[in-house]
């Protein structure tokens, strides 16, 4: 999936948007906007799945390992490292897909880092979802719905007139990624809220993980 999904999604999102050539409020190529959303979705969703499945499938084993002597903090840190590693790979494949399908990326390194950030955000979100909905199917349905809606609504393709979209995990990364690809800049106004979002999700994931592996609760 790490190899196949990002190019597929990036291409399909671009092709889908390209079918609407006269989107009035989009400056530039609609296909490019589609591919940007596709790359973000692929990175976020894949990393989120790892966070989700890591929590769902290994919660009881992690609990047993913690009982055997490892601290829950170490185990959680290891889970975060794994999801970050997957985010690094997924971001690289997604960015390469974007380039391969003819999108000029003005600032490659910042664009890559923003994709990694998006992936890490969803990796943590996957841990939270895995703790609240500790079943593979239901959890992945929640995640795919969230990531799909998020990558679409957080972009500028539709001018959604509500502040609620600022609560979506990809809202700030989407703006930063778009700037990095199209202008070669990363809007500094988006960096702080994106990192704040990351910090909040990290705490939420830590609490959720501790609950899932400590007492095994679920909704």
């Amino acid at each position: 999936m790490l190899v196949a999904l990002p190019p597929f999604v990036t291409y399909v999102y671009g092709a889908a948007m390209g079918a609407f050539p006269d989107v009035g409020f989009v400056d530039g190529s609609a296909s490019t906007y589609g591919r940007i959303g596709g790359a973000l979705f692929a990175t976020a969703f894949l990393t989120g799945l790892v966070g989700l499945f890591g929590t769902v499938s290994a919660a009881t084993a992690d609990r047993y390992l913690a009982f055997s002597g490892f601290s829950s903090g170490v185990l959680f840190g290891t889970r975060v490292l794994v999801t970050t590693g997957v985010a690094l790979v997924a971001a690289a494949v997604s960015l390469l897909s974007l380039l391969a399908f003819g999108t000029d990326v003005a600032a490659v390194a910042p664009a890559y880092l923003v994709l990694v950030l998006a992936g890490t955000l969803y990796g943590l979100l996957g841990v939270v979802v895995g703790a609240l909905v500790p079943r593979d199917l239901e959890g992945s349905l929640v995640l795919v719905f969230l990531a799909d809606a998020d990558s679409f609504l957080s972009g500028d393709v539709l001018s959604v007139d509500t502040d609620l979209v600022t609560l979506l995990p990809l809202h700030y990364p989407h703006a930063m990624f778009e700037s990095a690809v199209l202008d070669g800049t990363v809007g500094t106004g988006n960096v702080a809220p994106a990192l704040a979002y990351l910090a909040v999700l990290a705490v939420a994931a830590g609490v959720a993980y501790a609950a899932a592996t400590g007492r095994g609760w679920s909704l």
Binding site: S57, A58, T60, A61, R63, Y64, L65, F67, S68, G69
Partner: protein, 241 residues
């Protein structure tokens, strides 16, 4: 005061696990779901070297009691003392599917703070004793149910705990492994390890020093003491409690 003190306590053997008045109720966040009162004051003392069976009908709270005894869940009331630490073989195999048997030993050995040599020795000894040494390079998700059970049992034993709490330990064992398990348990008990076996069904009651029944959330004596019955009578938790 424990409601089931060890009747063999007069021999001066050290108490290695003591539970007094353990209570546990599962509460739901949903107002229309009733609370489930599982343990209502279970008490128990285990002394070094004894083998105790704990039986109870399905849903009587045996696994909850086990988790309270090992410290995996906190009781609502009561105390549990385990001065020498415990080994715990849970009812469900809590292993990592993608690790091999040897990797599982290394991971859990590190968690127990064992050295590399000690981990290797324990893995050699236990895989030989439980007869699954030929599967040491195999991934956990490719093991049979019985071999997964052996691995869980071996992991719970590898750090030589003073108390061993086993929840349905021989589910899926073939007859030879079942006998090997009891030979191993007898050796451990002879070396001073206290062993409690929880099961819905206890065969061969003369293998146990005592058998207790979990009924209405409390432990009560069940059957006869070891030696009083030389037969292989099967004690099954009665359906009516």
């Amino acid at each position: 005061m424990p409601n089931i003190p060890n009747q063999s306590g007069e021999d001066g053997r050290e108490v290695v696990l003591a539970a007094d008045g353990v209570e546990k109720t599962y509460s739901s966040w949903l107002p229309w779901e009733p609370d489930v009162e599982v343990l209502t004051g279970a008490s128990l003392e285990l002394r070094a070297g004894e083998v105790v069976g704990i039986v109870g009908e399905n849903g009587s709270g045996k696994s909850t009691l086990m988790q309270c005894l090992v410290g995996a869940i906190e009781p609502d009331a009561g105390t549990v003392s385990r001065p020498d630490g415990v080994g715990w073989c849970p009812q469900d195999d809590r292993l990592y599917d993608r690790l091999t048997v040897d990797e599982t030993f290394r991971l859990f050995g590190e968690a127990h703070g064992m050295t590399d040599d000690a981990i290797r020795d324990a893995a050699d000894r236990l895989t030989d004793r439980l007869d699954f040494e030929r599967f040491r390079d195999r991934r956990v998700d490719r093991l049979s149910g019985g071999n997964r059970r052996k691995l869980t049992l071996a992991v719970s034993l590898m750090h030589d705990p003073g108390v061993l709490l086993l929840d349905e330990p021989y589910t899926g064992f073939d007859w030879e492994t079942y006998l090997s398990f009891w030979e191993l348990a007898a050796d451990l008990a002879a070396d001073g390890t206290a062993i409690a076996v929880i099961s819905h069904l206890v065969s061969e009651r003369d293998r146990f020093d005592r058998i207790l029944e979990l009924r209405d959330g409390r432990l009560a004596r069940s059957g006869t003491q070891s030696g009083a019955s030389g037969d292989h009578e099967q004690l099954e938790a009665s359906a009516d409690g």
